[in-house]
Symmetry: C2
Subunit: 178 residues, 2 copies
């Protein structure tokens, strides 16, 4: 595709790096921004920059937070179970069901030798450090029903054995559509 302007070309190239957005969609979005008032684009750009540079992660559960400790970890009304999940989207999905009243631990991924992700790349150490200090009684493993998810669950179960906790996994028939 030939662009009439280098500025448009750059913007389209950057937009099309986002997942699920191809060149054509990116061009549509960029031309849409051009049609709207300048303020709209500046606000969008500013919100993305702020989000990326100022975001914090909860010291305890590694979930996204605006403060050092996230609202869920700071809450006193949460019960003493921990769900281990892969990433923030899982926390959001579980929170939006409003059915679970415990805490979380975001691993930041799953063990995947093919992609070069080992146990050391995940927040497993911090989970193990967190357990003796707290009154946590149950750890629930909510990981993908894939080979990698199973590997991670197996690894965690082995590591968690010594803490004398109840360890559960969510049923594999659990609807996992996002």
């Amino acid at each position: 595709m030939n662009f009439p302007s280098k500025l448009i070309e750059n913007a389209v190239n950057e937009m099309s790096k986002l997942p699920g957005i191809g060149k054509k969609t990116a061009l549509r979005l960029v031309l849409h921004l051009l049609k709207r008032e300048e303020e709209a684009t500046l606000t969008l750009a500013e919100s993305l920059t702020q989000m990326r540079t100022q975001i914090q992660y909860c010291r305890q559960c590694h979930n996204i937070a605006d403060t050092e400790t996230c609202a869920i970890c700071a809450s006193r009304s949460r019960d003493r179970s921990v769900v281990c999940v892969e990433d923030t989207r899982d926390v959001l999905a579980i929170e939006n069901t409003a059915q679970y009243k415990g805490l979380y631990h975001v691993l930041g991924g799953i063990i995947s030798p093919l992609e070069g992700v080992g146990p050391a790349d995940l927040h497993i150490d911090s989970l193990l450090r967190r357990l003796p200090e707290s009154t946590i009684q149950e750890v629930i493993l909510a990981l993908s029903p894939t080979m990698e998810g199973d590997t991670t669950a197996f690894y965690l179960t082995k590591k968690l054995k010594i803490y004398n906790l109840k360890i559960s996994t969510i049923a594999p028939g659990h609807p996992s559509g996002r």
Copy 2:
């Protein structure tokens, strides 16, 4: 949807203002940016800001350009016909066929009383000013095959009569899929 962070919420809200991007997709894009290095987000934000603030429009044809006169208008090898189109996307679409070797005139929309767009809101005056000064021999109207497109074409045909030009419209059977 409850967000764990105000920063994420802002970014998601801004992203979901883009056409065809809902809250869920916006969240997916924002979390994707969070996973990638900070530089990627900053480059994206910067490219959007630059695009919106530094873009210029060709003095002659009103197409997007990096300079005062766009590359197509500045070219001496273009023939002396003008295609009137609604917006930049149409120019891009026609240019990418590499079948047309004339000039363009971007109207910036079509007459649409329902949306409050009248002839004065379009670049019609500048087209009429452009004609006597130039050696243009044919004006081709390439507008949407809709009521608004037909209205605009009718209005333009009436206005262009006095210039003694060949006026054509593209065949309505022309595939208009974008």
